[in-house]
């Protein structure tokens, strides 16, 4: 069983993201039990697991929305030091606003539905201090283009858009500031199969062109397989298996993973 993730796959360098022993309980529910993960720059880490296994909770912790009971989290970035779970509210907000992008499963969590789509993207730039209207327009448009959003609709509110388009607005917002880390929580769930494929293509292209470090959560093994360099399998708040994607899919070690992979085949 390969539980170590310390060997880099793509580049020989220090990991960008290191999370150690992250635990979180909600009352009697132990949502995370000592979850550790390492992600190297430019890599995609896929997290799979059944419903309720703690995938979203872990992702929210990485986005500093959730403070775990124990554990540490570091990002190897200039000006970013120490255990990020110890940062105060202001420092968290600034870090997330400028260095981490997130796409939520539910667009309502990530978007202002009655503002314009371009405004949703522009908000990230505004928080980072951009005060030139023309530059805001231009950068918002370019981020939307990169997410393959039809830019003639850039001022339409997400409330008037389809689910796939809403996910693209979220994606544009997440990449507008060239984040060091992109977190994706079930970005294709709830979309019909053809739209799902389009969103996946966009993510793949972004990954290839920009080499953005990503953590993607899905209960869909196909999605994880298409995008990930490494895979982490979670069950009841625990990591039952992790390793290179090809290894895990071709030669699953843990009984639960075997079950998952075979159910898929």
């Amino acid at each position: 069983m390969s539980l170590t993730m310390d060997e880099p796959t793509l580049v020989t360098t220090r990991p960008l993201l290191t999370a150690r022993d992250v635990s979180k309980a909600y009352g009697p529910v132990q949502a995370l039990r000592g979850v550790s993960a390492t992600v190297y720059p430019g890599e995609v880490l896929g997290i799979v697991g059944e419903s309720g296994s703690g995938k979203s909770t872990f992702l929210r912790a990485l986005n500093l929305e959730e403070t775990p009971d124990t554990g540490s989290y570091t990002l190897d970035l200039p000006d970013v030091q120490g255990n990020l779970f110890d940062l105060d509210r202001y420092a968290r907000r600034m870090l997330c606003a400028t260095r981490i992008g997130i796409v939520y499963q539910n667009p309502h969590l990530g978007l202002l539905m009655s503002h314009s789509s371009s405004g949703n993207v522009a908000e990230r730039l505004l928080v980072a201090g951009e005060r030139r209207f023309a530059v805001l327009r231009d950068k918002a448009q370019r981020a939307l283009e990169a997410s393959e959003f039809p830019t003639e609709r850039m001022d339409a509110p997400p409330a008037e858009l389809s689910g796939g388009m809403q996910q693209r607005v979220q994606l544009a917002k997440a990449i507008a500031l060239e984040p060091a880390l992109l977190l994706l929580d079930e970005p294709t769930t709830g979309l019909d199969v053809s739209v799902q494929a389009l969103v996946l293509d966009t993510l793949k292209r972004l990954q290839q062109e920009r080499r953005i470090t990503m953590v993607i959560v899905s209960h869909d093994l196909g999605v994880i397989r298409t995008l990930s360099d490494r895979v982490m399998v979670m069950r009841r708040g625990e990591v039952v298996e992790q390793g290179l994607a090809d290894q895990v899919f071709q030669d699953p070690q843990h009984a639960y993973t075997q079950q998952l992979v075979h159910a898929k085949l």
Binding site: R89, Y90, R93, A97, L112, H115, S116, S118, G119, A122, E123, L126, V127, R131, R132, F133, A134, L136, D155
Partner: protein, 304 residues
């Protein structure tokens, strides 16, 4: 020993309607607000003999600052003679013995609803503005506890987003009165609903401005010589109302903020929105030697 020898004879010992402890609290809160320009400071807004929403916030500040030698002026949307302005003026005079005036140059204390006088105020003058809603973040954050955190973090991205949205939708910033403005580079405030025209008058002004909301129980302050900068994009300039070219039908005053008075035939005439400036202009035209102070605007342009 008689009761007489043990007690002092009754004499009036307080003025300004509020009791001494209420005034002391408001003084302390004003000092705090002066120390942190633009920051909303809560205070225990007292009952005054006037309904909430009619200027009780401003009235409590005036009652606290007033003494029998304070010369007071009260204006309501630029007019000294509206029922509301006249009643507040009478009330303040009655409870303090203070003299009153309509002339902005003579006043020590000016309580105003929604306007800053057109004549430049001096270091020794205090302007008290009545504020209905002191929270600039309310349109973007209805939860006041979160709004306070946002102020603490200077988290004003959503305010900027509002402006962005207005330009995208309407081609320009639609915000009229209450234009959100950054005070001393730190706190965004709502400058009560004064028109955009009046906001630049607060920037680096010589006088002290106290903005007080009685119903919301909060006050904030623009101290003298403090920066007040409307939130604007670098490439979309701040624009005041287009009143520079209008002439007052009654006084002939020109280049000031005007009230529009619709006529039966569908047209409009305009009257200068600072009623005493209008009166002084008429008196001067009729040959009286009246002093009209320097004004913030001349021919519709800011002077300094």
């Amino acid at each position: 020993m008689t009761l007489q020898s043990l007690t002092r004879a009754w004499e009036p010992m307080s003025y300004g309607f509020l009791d001494a402890s209420a005034k002391r609290e408001i003084r302390r809160k004003m000092l705090k607000a002066i120390a942190v320009p633009g920051c909303q400071v809560p205070y225990a807004s007292r009952e005054v003999p006037m309904a909430r929403g009619w200027g009780t916030g401003g009235l409590q500040i005036s009652c606290t600052l007033i003494n029998p030698r304070t010369r007071i002026k009260v204006i309501d949307q630029g007019a000294d003679d509206s029922v509301n302005a006249a009643s507040i003026r009478k009330f303040l005079a009655r409870v303090s013995g203070a003299p009153t005036t309509n002339d902005a140059l003579e006043a020590d204390l000016i309580q105003s609803r929604h306007r800053v006088p057109e004549e430049v105020l001096r270091e020794d003058q205090v302007l008290v503005l009545q504020v209905p809603n002191p929270e600039p973040l309310r349109p973007v954050q209805p939860n006041m506890s979160i709004a306070r955190q946002m102020h603490a973090d200077a988290d004003y991205g959503r305010m900027w987003l509002q402006l962005y949205e207005q330009i995208v939708r309407s081609g320009r910033v639609m915000q009229g009165a209450s234009y959100p403005s950054l005070v001393n580079g730190r706190f965004v405030m709502t400058p009560s609903p004064i028109p955009r025209w009046d906001v630049p008058k607060l920037h680096m002004a010589r006088h002290l401005t106290i903005l007080s909301a009685g119903r919301e129980k909060r006050l904030h302050v623009v101290p003298p010589f403090t920066r007040v900068e409307p939130l604007v994009f670098d490439d979309v300039p701040y624009r005041v109302e287009d009143h520079g070219g209008l002439t007052c039908q009654r006084s002939g005053a020109r280049g000031y903020f005007m009230n529009e008075i619709p006529q039966d035939d569908g047209s409009s005439i305009h009257e200068v929105s600072d009623s005493d400036l209008g009166v002084k202009t008429i008196r001067r035209r009729e040959g009286e030697a009246v002093a009209i102070g320097a004004t913030w605007y001349e021919n519709g342009e800011m002077t300094s």
